[in-house]
Structure formats: C-alpha cells, structure tokens
Amino acid sequence: MIVEAVLDTGAVMAYVNGVDRVGELLFRAAEDRFGVAVPSTCLLEAYQAMHVEDFDMLRLLRLLPIVLIDEPQTDVSGADDLPIIGGMAARAGRIGAGHAALTAATHSAAVFTSLPAQIESVLGKSWPIVEV
C-alpha cells in the first residue's frame, strides 16, 4: 500500500478531537485505499497527552487497515533508524517530530502536524506539510 501521509503527534491528537482536516484525510485514504503512516513514537506522545478514557479511540485508529504504524528499525549491524531519529529529533526538538520526519522521507509522504516548523527544520520548507 502506498503511504501518502504521515500523522505527527499533533495530528493524532487532532483525530481524537474531531479535527476535520485529519478526518477528511483518513476518509479519503479509505476511499482510495492509500496508506497513512503513524510513527510509534508519535502514538506514545499522544497517549502521554491524552486522558485514559480516550485511549479506545486510538485503538480504533490503529486497527484500521489503511493505518500503518511505523516502528523504528533497530539492527545495529544493518538498518538502524535509532541514530537517524535521534539526530533528526535533536534538530526538530522532539522525538516524535524526528521520527515523523524520517517516516515522511522514507515513504516520500506529506506530514500532518500541529508544529510545522519542527518538521520543516529537518525536511525543508518545500516539503508538503499540512498544519492541523
């Protein structure tokens, strides 16, 4: 499945809060069967910021076949995303933003975020970034 968009932490929170821009993205993804990636660290940041009673909404999101959870690769002798994410996070100012930037670069996908400057600091101002 082709991934067209990445949800940064703020976009995951926007889904939980019924923000239309994220809802429409997810609906169109289901309609046209393209993927939306959610970095696992962004999910962790979202869980950290949410009330426990809202956790079920993220469970529903994670179960959708168009939602692909991006896990960092951790092979110290091969594909190793951890130093890359750490370096990007140092520039962006947040682990989730670093992971979202790498996921977007990996899939050549747009980023939905509430903090566009953090993503721009890594991917540049020309990269498609949708503020939510």
Partner: protein
C-alpha cells in the same frame, strides 16, 4: 478461505459490466467492490466515534487531496541529498519510493 454462494438481483445498468468479465472473475469483482465499501464504512465508524462529521465518497476531492500530498521528485531528492551531506542520513540510505 471459506466462501458462501449468493444469488442477488441487480439493476441492469449495474449488472451490465459484469456480463463482460471473463468467466470466474465476477466473484472477484464483487468481492473487491464490497471490500472497498466495507473499508469506507469502517473508517466512517471510527471517525464518528471520535466526533467527526459524516463524509461522502468523492473521487474528484480524493484526487485533489492526493495531488496536494504529492512530494515532488526534486523536493524529495534535494532534501535527502542535504540530509546526507549533513550526516543526518547515512550515504547508502534509500527511500522506499
């Protein structure tokens, strides 16, 4: 996979294209159409649970959104070259597409 046999009645204009399909392809065609619809319904249910409005399928809107999301090749290549030159990506790093 277990399958179930169904007899359905369809309007002629809907059934027309099915008659042109090769033998044995009608079930696959109908299965694909139903899976697409079920995915959209499941998505809407998840969105409704999170307080979102009802969305309506619209191929033109969807095409416009995909165009908005597209990362131009030169933007992708420039970003990756810069990140490699800064040591943020390994020299042998490759995007998946």
């Amino acid at each position: 996979m277990t399958t179930v046999r169904f007899t359905v009645s369809l309007p002629e204009d809907v059934a027309g294209p099915l008659k042109d399909l090769p033998a044995g392809q009608v079930s696959a065609y109908v299965t694909d159409a139903l899976r697409r619809r079920q995915l959209v319904e499941r998505m809407q249910a998840a969105l409704t649970a999170a307080g979102h409005r009802q969305f309506t399928p619209d191929p033109a809107e969807t095409a416009a959104l995909r165009e908005q999301l597209r990362v131009p090749a030169n933007v992708r290549e420039d970003a990756i070259a810069r990140l490699k030159s800064e040591g943020m990506l390994p020299d042998n790093w490759q995007p998946r597409r």
